[in-house]
Amino acid sequence: MACGIAIALLASGATRAQAAPRGLGSVPHAADIAALDIAIGPRGDELPPGAGSVAEGAAIYAGRCAACHGANGHEGPDMKLVGGQGTLASAAPVLTIGSYWPYATTLFDYIRRAMPFTAPGSLEADDVYALTAFLLHANGIVAADTVLDRARLPTVRMPNRDGFVPDPRPDVP
């Protein structure tokens, strides 16, 4: 990495010296940026190569997720992932991926960075695509034969996509 930084500095040092006010910080190697660039926005620009199917996801879910989230994603003991559509305006709203989350890209992003709880960041991209496909299917959002990849995932429209409003506060008279 030190060698990469040195080369990058040689390449861009002249313009940096002119424009950067203090000359602090080092120019990161493109590969080092890419390794950290894991946050996925709704456009999906940062989604990695790979693909996964609903069926593959079902198998991974059973082995890596069901112990905490239940056999079908709604039994717990931890966060409910499945169900709840139509409950948000009721006295007992159930907030799940299917009922609440506005973007499918968030699912890939969060599973990859933070799950499974006991081994965060341990799943390969193919596994994360598969789990995402499985959980979207379990919520009735994609068909059983769906295969997700970087092109397909950002096109999935979530049921509660238009369910969020800007903060109107102060709102209490």
Binding site: R43, A89, P170
Partner: protein, 398 residues
Amino acid sequence: MRASRRDFFGRVSGWLGAVALGGVGAHAAADTTKMQGAPVRAYGVRAAYEKAARWLVPSRYPTSTASFTPLAALHGTVTPSALHFERHHAGVPDIDPVAHRLLVHGLVDRPLAFTVEELGRFPVTQRQYFIECSGNTNTEWAGPRGADVQQTHGLMSCSEWCGVRLAEVLAECGVQPAAAWIVFEGADGAAMTRSLPLAKCLDDVLLAYAQNGEALRPEQGYPLRLIVPGWEGSTHVKWLRRAKVTAEPYYTREETAKYTDLMPDGRARSFSFVMEAKSVITTPSPGSTLVRGEHEIRGLAWSGRGRITRVEVSADGGASWQTAQLHGPVMPLCHTRFTLPWRWDGGPAVLASRATDETGYVQPTREALTAVRGVRSFYHYNAIQQWRVTASGTLENV
């Protein structure tokens, strides 16, 4: 090996033959003028008699839970670093500060990686700011629930933070015209991620490396965290490793599935950042027992929109109010301590406080708050808190 207070004093008097001077029972005082005290030491600890501690909310996952500041045991406006509330999503990482980097990239002219040492060479900014979890006081939406002020309001603390203004660091990188948001990411096991509007980032956001005069505590983000003055605690990303400048927010899990406010009509508010004006009486509060006679009501007030300008106190459940004294300096986006002398005659009393900030915003009642938002929004509860004094002098949440 834990000794009770009685054991400790018993042993002291036995070993040294000290004479109790006016002591009573277990609290007989040793004569400390007839012996050498403890030697100097490299890093101090509090007195052995002081037991104030964070309350750990019961959880099956001790790394993904919260601890609450013991507000009733504290004085002034600064929270001791060791008692600052915690909310972690995947525990406290152990980070070597020499190896740590903050990467700034995305819509910038010059992506740069900064060491903590380099960030320390930028001009320092030091300010006292509160941090309040947006889930603070969430037990009270459905009515009085929390046992005491630590449980109801303890996800809130205040420190002096030192660091570099994020704007200074962004200037080093050259923010491009298309930039409108920044996605911040921590180096914890959840890689905690939040999107913040660029305007706030250029205004008063700090990259903090110090708290109350020393390096950040590990549980407060060592070696580097974000301070987002006046905004909900989860935006103050700890163990900060990355800032990606973007055109749009990224709708991360922590700004969609969580930290959004569900309204009665089934819609939810997102990016509801500011913590509105709030106050609470910390003394007396549940856990203490009043005797008849003179007391001083003490509490804390704060607002994410600026300075506290007024705190009123009621002893009759809000039927009448008296203006409390504010103890300066009153700083914006910071705890403000208020006090009011009060005499308890043994009769019925319901103590409450109500804060007003410099925008003219007045802290609402629970009834007014829930009339607008219902009881399912979980976050951003800031209604007036009431403590009822019972005939025996104890206090309870009502």
